[in-house]
């Protein structure tokens, strides 16, 4: 049995917003109680609409944001608090690939310097060893060997994302958090980057937390998928199970909204109404009830916990059991 590499326990990240004098500051609950286990070597996809808190969750895990409450266990050790000295090699072992390959690379540094930067900061190797390592990394992500002397602006979006990936794997991390790594890229280039991420995972034994709003791509790349809504995971299952047996009304709505590249495919008739509520004012009870076609009085009163509907498939809905059954029957 593989053991969890990362464990999140009731993780919260709230932001206090500015307000008029003498009025209470509104609190934006971006991440509002997330429990999640990430196994070694797996790819966990995290999907949701903008504002659901998926990027904040990623940034909190890597401690670009300090968590408001809850714990982050990495390899069994709590890394949610304390200085870098106390959390040890955590920062080295967790790396991130960012969405925008245009904004996340310093335009004044050469590609060689960019890729060597994590090695320099980590104080790893002699200068000669670092140069060799940079050459290896360039080769590994499929960039020409003369790229090191050039600058980021000389590269296309897909190539820049490769530079970002080379930076992320330079320190041989265990966990790589990919925050929308392909959203800014063209379709033909997306497939190149996704295939490369899969190859790197196989070669280096990486664990991925893969954040995206692209539901087709997440199904392709993930072993398990978590669906986020208003700061919380509302459904979590293996990717095939999630698509065959969606057991939360929100997941169902999301799946039926994906445009399928096949004109003959059956279309959902009625699109889901309404929009995601503000995370400053999260609905009582079930947070999805304001858009849910199945909502009852119970949903307004009681916040449904994540429960197992069979085979480790978790759903936070009062009617999860029924929904799971329906999907199996259909």
């Amino acid at each position: 049995m593989t053991q969890p590499l990362l464990q999140l326990r009731d993780l919260h990240k709230h932001f206090r917003l500015p307000s008029a004098p003498f009025t209470p500051k509104p609190v934006l609950r971006a991440v509002d109680g997330v429990d999640l286990d990430l196994m070694k070597g797996e790819t966990l996809g995290l999907v949701g609409e903008s504002g659901c808190g998926k990027s904040t969750l990623a940034r909190t895990v890597i401690r670009l944001h300090e968590p408001t409450s809850g714990s982050i266990l990495f390899d069994g050790k709590d890394v949610s608090k304390g200085s870098d000295r106390q959390t040890g090699t955590f920062r080295r072992r967790v790396q991130m690939i960012f969405q925008d390959p245009y904004a996340s690379l310093n335009p004044r540094m050469s590609v060689g310097e960019l890729i060597a930067e994590p090695l320099d900061i980590g104080g790893i190797g002699t200068p000669a060893e670092r140069r060799k390592k940079v050459a290896d990394l360039l080769d590994r992500v499929g960039l020409p060997s003369d790229s090191g002397a050039r600058f980021a602006h000389e590269f296309s979006g897909g190539q820049r994302q490769r530079i970002g990936i080379a930076r992320a794997i330079a320190l041989e991390p265990d966990l790589v958090i990919c925050d929308e790594p392909i959203s800014a890229l063209d379709v033909s280039v997306q497939a190149q980057v996704v295939n490369m991420l899969e190859d790197l995972q196989a070669e280096l034994g990486l664990t991925y937390l893969f954040i995206t709003h692209d539901l087709s791509m997440v199904r392709h790349i993930s072993d398990r998928i978590g669906v986020m809504y208003l700061g919380r995971i509302v459904e979590l299952a293996s990717s095939a199970d999630l698509y065959h047996r969606p057991s939360h009304p929100y997941t169902r709505a999301l799946l039926s909204a994906i445009p399928v590249p096949d004109p003959e495919a059956a279309r959902a008739v009625e699109p889901m109404q309404g929009e995601i509520p503000s995370p400053i004012d999260i609905p009582s009870g079930c947070r999805f009830r304001t858009r849910c076609p199945m909502a009852t009085d119970l949903c307004a009163r009681v916040d449904p916990p994540l429960t197992d509907v069979g085979g480790g498939h978790l759903s936070a809905c009062h009617f999860a059991g029924e929904l799971a059954q329906q999907s199996t029957g259909a």
């Binding site: 609409e49 379709v187 497939a191 590249p261 495919a265």
Partner: protein
């Protein structure tokens, strides 16, 4: 013979920059028929947006239409004087852009902006224009329409702002609506709402729509006919069902192979298109896709193929009667 709403012929547009001439559109021709949704699909730099911006003559600084014509209701939009063109834009031709935040004026209420669009083209009173604005908001299903006229754009969500944009575009009952990536900035559930709305309005109002997108899913879902653009040229054009059932150009085949199929459990490895799109400062002399094409022949690199076929057309030498028979679809998928 079927009439056309818009008939574009041999359109060529370039941008003149410090580094030289960027040949964004290199001879694009197409017709838009009444009441149809024509999809323009392509990756960034394919020329899909520039084609439409040229037709509307809304090119950014440095952009120049080098040749071609765009016949709309008997007038050539490309040679029309600026005043006459302004009378058409926003009136007979409506436009929706990708980013609803930057296309709305943040200092005016949305009601003012809808009324402005109406009053620019109609000689009616402000009260009548306001009534029409309420009507339009109801048409695009903005709840409590009358009250929301007084809101500012920042008080609206992305989806609602796009509805306002659609209301403005429809203000004067256009014959043609040009929608440039109208749902790209939106979430899937909101995208679904906006696409359903557009399709419904198109059918009810009987207008023609040009929908520009990079998303093949969106193309499959709402369009009737498709132009596939690459390197500033039309590579393939076909009715939507034919395009997906029997793509005739290796580029189209490549695009379809590069997206994962949601219904596929086998975890097929994606088939990326190797390389990157051509540099339009110096486009290749032959087929622009040839350097990335698995079937490229000597002739492809040297000579630009014409569009072969009727109805379903493909710009590929493999379609030439004397060409070797290659099963492009299955070979790439294998």
């Amino acid at each position: 013979m079927t009439q056309t709403v818009l008939s574009v012929r041999d359109l060529a547009t370039s941008f003149f920059t410090r580094r030289g001439e960027v040949q964004a559109v290199r001879g694009v021709s197409f017709d838009v028929r009444p009441g149809e949704i024509l999809g323009l699909v392509g990756e960034s730099g394919s020329g899909k947006s520039i084609t439409c911006m040229s037709v509307l003559r809304l090119l950014k600084t440095g952009g120049r239409i080098k040749s071609g014509s765009a016949n709309f209701e008997g007038t050539d939009l490309l040679s029309l004087d600026e005043n006459a063109l302004s009378d058409l834009r926003g009136n007979r031709i409506g436009v929706i852009f990708q980013d609803p935040m930057t296309s709305l004026n943040p200092t005016l209420t949305v009601g003012e902006q809808v009324m402005e669009a109406i009053l620019r083209h109609r000689s009616i009173s402000r009260a009548q224009a306001r009534a029409r604005a309420v009507e339009l908001f109801e048409l695009v299903r903005i709840p409590s329409a009358a009250a929301r006229l007084k809101s500012y754009p920042h008080e609206f969500s992305g989806g609602m702002r796009q509805r306002v944009m659609i209301a403005i575009a429809l203000a004067c009952d256009p014959k043609l609506l040009i929608a440039d990536e109208p749902t790209t900035a939106l979430d899937v559930t909101i995208q679904r709402q906006i696409l359903a709305l557009l399709k419904d309005l198109q059918q009810r109002l009987g207008m023609a729509v040009i929908l520009i997108t990079h998303d093949l899913g969106v193309i499959a879902e709402v369009t009737d006919r498709v132009l596939v653009l690459y390197g500033g040229l039309v590579m393939e054009t076909a009715p939507v069902r034919e395009l997906f059932a029997a793509p005739g150009h290796p580029y189209t085949v490549g695009l379809l192979g590069a997206v994962p199929d949601l219904r596929d459990d086998t975890h097929r490895r994606l088939t990326p298109i190797p390389g990157s799109p051509p540099n339009m400062l110096a486009p290749p002399p032959g087929c622009p896709f040839a350097p990335r094409c698995p079937h490229a022949m000597t002739r492809c690199l040297a000579e630009l193929p014409p569009l072969f076929g009727e109805g379903h057309q493909s710009r590929c030498w493999l379609q030439h009667p004397d060409a070797p028979k290659v099963d492009a679809v299955h070979e790439v998928a294998a």
